[in-house]
Amino acid sequence: MPDIKVTPLGAGQDVGRSCILVSIGGKNIMLDCGMHMGYNDDRRFPDFSYVTQNGRLTEFLDCVIISHFHLDHCGALPYMSEMVGYDGPIYMTHPTKAICPILLEDFRKITVDKKGETNFFTSQMIKDCMKKVVPLNLHQTVQVDEELEIKAYYAGHVLGAAMFQIKVGSESVVYTGDYNMTPDRHLGAAWIDKCRPDILISESTYATTIRDSKRCRERDFLKKVHETVERGGKVLIPVFALGRAQELCILLETFWERMNLKAPIYFSTGLTEKANHYYKLFITWTNQKIRKTFVQRNMFEFKHIKAFDRSYADNPGPMVVFATPGMLHAGQSLQIFKKWAGNEKNMLIMPGYCVQGTVGHKILNGQKKLEMEGRATLDVKLQVEYMSFSAHADAKGIMQLIRMAEPRNMLLVHGEAKKMEFLKDKIEQEFSISCYMPANGETTTVVTNPSVPVDISLNLLKREMALGGPLPDAKRPRTMHGTLIMKDNSLRLVSPEQALKELGLSEHQLRFTCRVQLHDPHSDTDTLGRIYTHLKSVLKSYSIQHVPDGTVIVESIVIKVTSSAEEPNLKVILLSWSYQVNKHVMN
C-alpha cells in the first residue's frame, strides 16, 4: 500500500530549527533547514545523523526546499550542505535567495566573531551553499525530476515567504512554512487553491490564540510608544532586520508624520537601508496597495527613521530604537537592553514570538532578575510589553487554510506540544480528518490510496458516454466492459474486440450445446412455434426472434427443433448458448 512518511528533525512539537523530512512516492524531500535560537550547542541544528547514519545526504535527498529567510528555517543550510555534505538542488523564492545569505552571514559573524566559536560554517561555505540554490517563482511548477514536481504559493509571512506543494503522481503534500492569513501593512494574505493534498503540514505557533483585530493592536502599540516618549523614556523594540521591522516602521513613520512628533526613531545595524532596498526591488511580493502606489510614493523610503549608532544609546532624552535580533539572545538588541533595563521610565516592546531559552522568553515570562554571562545579575525594571505582530496564522487562520486546501490529513509542526494538542482536537472535530503532531525524530505514516491513471481508447469512452446518457443513474448503473492491456509500463483500456485485434489473437467461440428430448405430437414447426410463444410470454424484457429458417433466438441462445422420420413425436430440441449468458434467461 503506498504511503507518505513525515519525520520532523526539528520543529516537531517545538518552535525552532524547522527541518522536516518527507518521503512520498519514492522521493525524499527536506523541508526547511533551520537553527534553534534557544541553544548554543549541538541542539542548535537539526540532527542530520538520522539520515547520515545510512549514507550521504545527497544520495538520500531528492531536493531541499526553504520556505523563507528566517534563521529558524534556513540557519542550518550551510552547515547541512557544506559541512554534513549535500550537493543536490535547494529551492527557494527569489527574495529568499537574495536575503538568506545576508542573514546567514550576520548569524555567522555573531557566533564566530563575537562569541568566538570555532567549528562553524565560514563565509565561503555560505557562498558555496547559495550556488546550489535554484530560485523559483510563485505558482511556477518546477519539475525536480520526471516524477517529482513542486509549486510555490504566497504565504505572506515575510518578503518572499512561500508555501510549497510537493507532488508525485497523484499523491501530494503541502508544507506551509510560516504563513499569515490576514494582510498587513506591507504583505498580502496567504493563498492556496483547493489542491486537496494527502497531508497538509502546517505551522501552529499560535495554535490556541485567536488574535483581536489588527487595528486594535496597532492603536495599542502606538499609544504605548507615544506615552513612553512623552514622559521622556526610551523604547526598545527588538526585531529581525527584515519582516516585522518594515511593518512597524511604516506604522511609526505615518504616526510620527500625523502627530508631528520630534523624538528620534533609529534602526540599528547597517542592514536597514539594504533591507529597505530589497523591499523596493521585490515590491511585487508586497500587498496590493503598496504595489499600486509604488511609482508615486515608495512606502519603504522613510523620512523619520534614521540609522542607529552605538553611542546614541547613552544619549539623554526619549527615543525609539529598533534593534536586532528579535529575541534578545545576542547582538545589539541585547546590549541596548542591558543599558536601559534598570530605568522604569523605559519600555521594551516585544513584537514577536520568543523561543525558549532566549533572554526575550525569560523576560516575557516575568523574570525580574537575569543572570548575565559571568557577571552579576541584571535587574529588569523597565516596562515590558508583548504585542504579537509576528505574521503567523492564528487558530482561525489555520482553520481557514484547511478549508482552502481541503487536505485528507493534517500534520502540525512549529508549535508547542500542549497548544498543538488543543488545535489537533479542534481540527479532528471540525473537519473529521486525522491530525498528527509527531515529535522530533518520530515518523508519521499516512497511507494514501491513489487511483490508477489509465489511457482509455476514445472510441470506447465516447460509446460508453453516449450510452450512459448525460447523467449517471444511481439506480441503474451501467457497467462498462473493457480490456486493460499492460505493456512496457503503459496501461491502456480498450474494447475487448480491439484488444484481441491489437494482440493478434483470434477469439475462440465457445458455445455450449445440449439436446433435450420430449414427446410432442405436433409438427416440428408447431413445437417451435409453441416454444416461441411461451418464451415470449415468460421473458418479456428480452428480445426473442423467430427466424424463418426454423430457429428461435433468445439473445445469444439458439433453439432448434428436429425429429426423425421414425419417431415424429419424439422431438429433439437443440439448445446452444454462448459462454456469456444472462443467468436469468437460463433460469
Binding site: L281, L458, H481, T483, L484, I485, M486, E507, H534
Partner: protein
C-alpha cells in the same frame, strides 16, 4: 480541432483554437499601421497642418474636402487615427473561453474583444505583460484624448468612393473594420478580466486542457504557450528571441514533442542584425550630437528602449558625450522606468544577480540619479523650461501620427543638423515620414527587432521536431521585395500550413486516447494474466463516472439485497441486472485436461436446460 485566423498580420496575431471542448484565443494584436493613412495629431497648434487643402477628385465629382487632406503630395484622412481590428465576423466571440496573451505588444486589441462582444471568459497573462500592457494602452488613450478631434471621417470608406481615391488609400484593406481608440474605462474593464500566471505554471481549463506559459525571451514577461491534453500537444510560439537582452532566456526544451506548432512573430526585418543596428544607432547619435544637432528616437515606452538606454549608458562616456541629456517623454515614462526595475524574476540571470546585491537591475536608475536621463509626462509643463540642446529625445508614438513625437517633428524637421533615428520595426519609415515631407532633418533607419530570424527558427524547429507547423502565409514565401532570397522563408518537410486573415484550418491530428482513473478498489480487484512476454491483460467491468471532464472508473456496486416484501412487489421491481464480463477466449486448449474436466461436470451440465425446456413446453 480547428484554427480560426482573425488577423493576417504575422507579428500581431489573433487566432482562435478549438481544442477538445475549449475555445482558446491566442493573442489579440492590434494593427496600428492603419494610423499611417491619417494626418498627424499635433499637440501644439500647427499652422502647416491646419491649412491643408481638402481633396476633391479631378473631375470634381467626389468632394471629400472635409475628410481628406492633401499633404506633402499624399492624401490623408483628417480624423482621429484608427486601427485595424482582428476579424469579428468569422466566429462568435462570445463563445471564447480564454484568451492567452504572449506579450504586451500582442494584447493591444483586448478591449475591443472583451467589451461589447458578450465575452465572459478569462484572459491569462504574466504580471509584467499585464502591467506594461496597461501602460501602453493608457499611453495610447492619453495620446488620443489629449487632442480630441471633433469629426470622424467615414464617407471615404464607401467602397465606391474608396475606389476613386489616389495613392495608398485606394489599396487600404478591411477599412470597415477600422475603429478608433478605446477609452480608459474600457481598458480597465478589459484588464480586470486578466488572471495572472507565472512561467511554467500549469493552468487547467475545465479539466479538459492544460495551458502553460513558457519564457520566450523577447520582452519582460513574454511567453510562448503550451496547450495540451494528456495525449495531444499544441505549441504556440509568438514573439520569441534567442538574443541576450534583458528578459529571461527563451525556454525551448518544453516545446518538444508537439503535434502542432503555431509559429508567429518572427523578425520583421530579417536582413538586419540587431547588434549591428545598435552600433549604427550609437555612431549616428554621436555624430549628430557632436555637430550640435538633436536626436529624436520615436519609440514605444517599454522594451527596446531599456536596451538602448543601457547601451548608451556605456557608450556616452566612452564617446566623451557624458554631458548630453536624455529625455524620455511619455505619459507613462516614469511608470515604465520604475516597473522595469521590479520584475527581477522575469529578467536574465545577469540582471537577477544584481537584484540580489541589492541593486536596481537596469542602469537607467543611475542615469536618472545622476540627472543624465530625465523623464516627463509630456512636452507641456516642466519639460519646456528645463530642456537643453543638443539632446536625445525618446518619445512615442513610432507611427509619428500622434504623441509628443509629432511636436518634435514640426520643431526639428527643418534643420539638417538634427537626426531622427527609427528603431522600431513596426512601421515603414518612409510612410511614417510622408506627411512631414519635405524634411531637412537626417533620417536614419536602424530597426532593432530581436525576434527569431529564419535561420534561428529553422534550427529551433530541427531541435524540437513538431509534427506539423502552422504559420502566416508571408513566412512561406520570400519577401516581396526580395523574391530571390529563398533563405528568408520557411522551408519544412512536411510544408507548413499557411494561413491568412479569415482562414479556417483543420489541424491534422486525431485524438485516440483519453485519461481515465481506476479507483484503487477496482484496480485491486483486477486479475491480469500474461498473454505474451511483457504483455498482460485483464478484463475490466466497471461503472463510468464523468464529471468536469474527468473520468473515473468505479467498481460495479453489488446489487442491494432485495428487501423481504410481498410477492407482487418482487415481480415488478427486480434488481438491476449486471452482466458478467465476457472473458477473452484465446490461445491453445489443453485437450486432455479439458476432456477430463468435461467428464466431471457432464452431469450437472445437462440438468438445468432440461428443466427449462420442459417448463417452456408446458
Amino acid at each position: 480541432m480547428k484554427l480560426y485566423c482573425l488577423s493576417g498580420h504575422p507579428t500581431l496575431p489573433c487566432n482562435v483554437l478549438k481544442f477538445k471542448s475549449t475555445t482558446i484565443m491566442l493573442d489579440c494584436g492590434l494593427d496600428t499601421t492603419a494610423a499611417l493613412y491619417f494626418l498627424p495629431l499635433p499637440l501644439v497648434h500647427s499652422p502647416r497642418l491646419s491649412k491643408l487643402p481638402g481633396w476633391v477628385s479631378k473631375d470634381g465629382a467626389v468632394n471629400l474636402e472635409k475628410e481628406l487632406k492633401e499633404c506633402s503630395g499624399r492624401v490623408f484622412v483628417d480624423s482621429q487615427p484608427e486601427f485595424c481590428l482582428p476579424e469579428k465576423e468569422l466566429l462568435d466571440l462570445s463563445t471564447i473561453d480564454v484568451i492567452l496573451i504572449s506579450n504586451y505588444h500582442c494584447m493591444m486589441a483586448l478591449p475591443y474583444i472583451t467589451e461589447h462582444t458578450g465575452f465572459t471568459g478569462t484572459v491569462y497573462a504574466t504580471e509584467p505583460t499585464l502591467q506594461i500592457g496597461r501602460l501602453l494602452m493608457e499611453e495610447l488613450v492619453t495620446f488620443m484624448e489629449r487632442v480630441p478631434k471633433a469629426q470622424a471621417a467615414t464617407c471615404w470608406k464607401n467602397k465606391e468612393i474608396q475606389r476613386l481615391l489616389p495613392g495608398p488609400l485606394k489599396d487600404a484593406v478591411d477599412v470597415w473594420s477600422w475603429r478608433k481608440c478605446y477609452s480608459v474605462q474600457e481598458v480597465n474593464s478589459a484588464l480586470s478580466k486578466v488572471q495572472l500566471v507565472g512561467y511554467s505554471q500549469k493552468v487547467e481549463l475545465f479539466g479538459a486542457v492544460q495551458v502553460t506559459p513558457l519564457s520566450s525571451g523577447y520582452s519582460l514577461g513574454s511567453s510562448n504557450w503550451i496547450i495540451q491534453s494528456h495525449y495531444e500537444k499544441v505549441s504556440y510560439v509568438s514573439g520569441s528571441s534567442l538574443l541576450t537582452t534583458h528578459p529571461q532566456p527563451m525556454e525551448q526544451s518544453s516545446l518538444k514533442n508537439s503535434d502542432v506548432l503555431i509559429l508567429t512573430g518572427l523578425t520583421q526585418i530579417p536582413t538586419a542584425n540587431p547588434d549591428g543596428m545598435l552600433g549604427e544607432f550609437c555612431s549616428n547619435l554621436a555624430m549628430t550630437i557632436r555637430a550640435g544637432g538633436n536626436v529624436l528616437v520615436p519609440c514605444y515606452s517599454s522594451g527596446v528602449i531599456y536596451d538602448l538606454l543601457e547601451c548608451l549608458y556605456q557608450f556616452m562616456d566612452s564617446a566623451n558625450l557624458g554631458s548630453t541629456p536624455f529625455y524620455f517623454i511619455s505619459p507613462v515614462a516614469n511608470s515604465s522606468l520604475e516597473f522595469s526595475q521590479i520584475f527581477a524574476e522575469w529578467l536574465c540571470q545577469n540582471k537577477q544577480s544584481k537584484v540580489y546585491l541589492p541593486e536596481p537591475p537596469f542602469p537607467h536608475a543611475e542615469l536618472i540619479q545622476t540627472n543624465k536621463l530625465k523623464h516627463y509626462p509630456s512636452i507641456h509643463g516642466d519639460f519646456s523650461s528645463e530642456f537643453r540642446q543638443p539632446c536625445v529625445v525618446f518619445t512615442g508614438h513610432p507611427s509619428l501620427r500622434f504623441g509628443d513625437v509629432v511636436h518634435f517633428m514640426e520643431l526639428w524637421g527643418k534643420s539638417s543638423l538634427n537626426t531622427i533615428i527609427f528603431t522600431e520595426p513596426d512601421f515603414s519609415y518612409l510612410d511614417a515620414l510622408a506627411p512631414y515631407q519635405p524634411l531637412a532633418m537626417k533620417c536614419v533607419y536602424c530597426p532593432i527587432d530581436t525576434r527569431l530570424n529564419f535561420h534561428q527558427v529553422s534550427k529551433l524547429l530541427k531541435d524540437i521536431q513538431p509534427l506539423h507547423v502552422v504559420c502566416p502565409e508571408p513566412y512561406t514565401q520570400p519577401p516581396p521585395a526580395q523574391p530571390h532570397r529563398s533563405d528568408l522563408m520557411l522551408e519544412l518537410q512536411p510544408p507548413p500550413m499557411a494561413y491568412r486573415r479569415c482562414s479556417v484550418l483543420g489541424l491534422p491530428f486525431r485524438r485516440r486516447y483519453e485519461r481515465i482513473h481506476l479507483l484503487p478498489e477496482l484496480a485491486r480487484s483486477l486479475v491480469p494474466s500474461e498473454i505474451k512476454a511483457g504483455v498482460s491483460v485483464a478484463t475490466v467491468s466497471a461503472v463510468l463516472q464523468s464529471k468536469d471532464n474527468k473520468h473515473v472508473l468505479q467498481p460495479v456496486p453489488k446489487p442491494a439485497p432485495v428487501p423481504p416484501s410481498k410477492k407482487r412487489k418482487r415481480v415488478t421491481e427486480e434488481p438491476p441486472e449486471v452482466l458478467n464480463p465476457k472473458p477473452l477466449l484465446s490461445g491453445a486448449v489443453p485437450l486432455e485436461p479439458f476432456l477430463a474436466m468435461l467428464h466431471k461436470v457432464q452431469h450437472t451440465l445437462s440438468l438445468r436446460p432440461n428443466q427449462s425446456a420442459q417448463s417452456a413446453c408446458r
